[in-house]
């Protein structure tokens, strides 16, 4: 009886440990139903007076489109989805409005394209730290993601 109890406790603890390790490994990506938010990151800011940018990708494995309508984060008084566009060699930037992720497709926010612009920063974004962001969708519940802050010279989630 005792042996059985110890075994089951050990078993539960092991499972818990495995679950924790798995969670750790996938700490940066979040799945809500058929929608997966992957590789989120932000660039360190230069103080608080200039806007900062954050990036991530959204994969929709479902059969229906999902629409990202809003982003918010405690580090910024105003965060919006913006898009850098290039025409005839001229770079321009503007609000992107709602971002639709079609069924079975992926939208990647990356330097030179779609990005989350965080204006009116409440605190500087320091390399090595992390912060939270809430992504609001039209069709599904809001998703909370944790964004690691990479160096000011970073150009992607891994560098």
């Amino acid at each position: 009886m005792n042996v059985l109890k110890i075994t089951s406790i050990t078993g539960v603890l092991s499972l818990l440990l495995i679950a924790m390790m798995t969670a750790q490994a996938a700490a940066d990506s979040v799945r809500i139903g058929d929608v997966i938010i992957e590789a989120p990151w932000a660039r360190a800011s230069i103080g608080t007076s200039r806007p900062a940018a954050a990036y991530l990708s959204i994969r929709n494995e479902g059969d229906e489109p999902v629409t990202l309508t809003q982003v918010s984060t405690p580090v910024s008084k105003m965060a919006e989805i913006h898009e850098s566009t290039m025409s005839d060699g001229i770079a321009r930037m503007g609000t992107a409005g709602d971002v639709v992720i079609r069924a079975g497709s992926e939208v990647v926010l990356k330097p030179g394209g779609l990005h989350i612009m965080m204006m009116k920063l409440k605190q500087p974004l320091k390399k090595g730290e992390k912060f939270n962001m809430t992504l609001t969708f039209k069709e599904i519940e809001a998703v909370d993601v944790v964004l690691p802050i990479l160096g000011v010279g970073a150009s992607g989630p891994n560098k």
Binding site: H82, M93, G112, S155
Partner: protein, 195 residues
């Protein structure tokens, strides 16, 4: 007889088209290989507050990028690339000067530009000036910029600007541009063939 004349004229026409086309393609090839060269001129202030002109950078290769410090996406990406290029150049880095010229001089004064460029790489030189000086500089580089009203942007506006990086030779001649997104590896490879 008339038919022969038509045939001959036809042959002349074909020859002319072929010759013209050949000349044109040759001209375009030469243009894209060496680029129509010109010498940009400017009088600006560097991020240490010192006056500079195009002659300040003679003797070195210059990589020139137009941007503004309230730009969170395109500009940091390019300045980060500048840093990456400088690190990859190794010993040749001393022969290359990466320049960041603000096209938003009203907001980007000397101290703002200094804080911005130094966040990316110690070798990057930030330049600003009066509205008139910046407009003159941009037109001298055949670069474009515009102020775009945008309600939610800081101070209610953002800037559109030429996104390519210019390469200027040690003699002060325009050599080529690198389009936005050209990898640091490609830029270094190209620079190594010239230095």
């Amino acid at each position: 007889m008339r038919r022969v004349r038509y045939i001959l004229w036809g042959a002349v026409l074909i020859a002319a088209v072929i010759f013209g086309g050949h000349q044109l393609s040759h001209m375009l090839e030469t243009k894209s290989a060496s680029g129509p060269t010109f010498q940009p001129v400017f009088t600006l202030t560097n991020h240490s507050g010192e006056p500079v002109s195009e002659t300040t950078f003679r003797g070195d290769w210059a990589l020139v990028f137009f941007g503004f410090t309230n730009c969170p996406d395109i500009c940091p990406t390019t300045l980060a690339e500048f840093g990456n290029v400088m690190d990859r150049l190794g010993a040749d880095a001393s022969k290359v000067k990466p320049l960041f010229i603000t096209i938003d001089p009203e907001r980007d004064r000397v101290a703002d530009v200094a804080k911005y460029v130094s966040a990316f790489h110690p070798s990057i030189i930030g330049l600003t000036g009066s509205n008139k000086q910046i407009a003159y500089t941009a037109s001298s580089f055949k670069a474009f910029f515009e102020r775009v009203p945008q309600e939610t942007a800081p101070d209610g506006y953002t800037m559109g600007h030429t996104s390519a990086v210019y390469l200027i030779s040690p003699e002060g001649n325009f050599v080529r541009t690198y389009q936005f997104g050209t990898s640091p590896e490609m830029i270094v490879e190209d620079l190594k063939t010239r230095i």
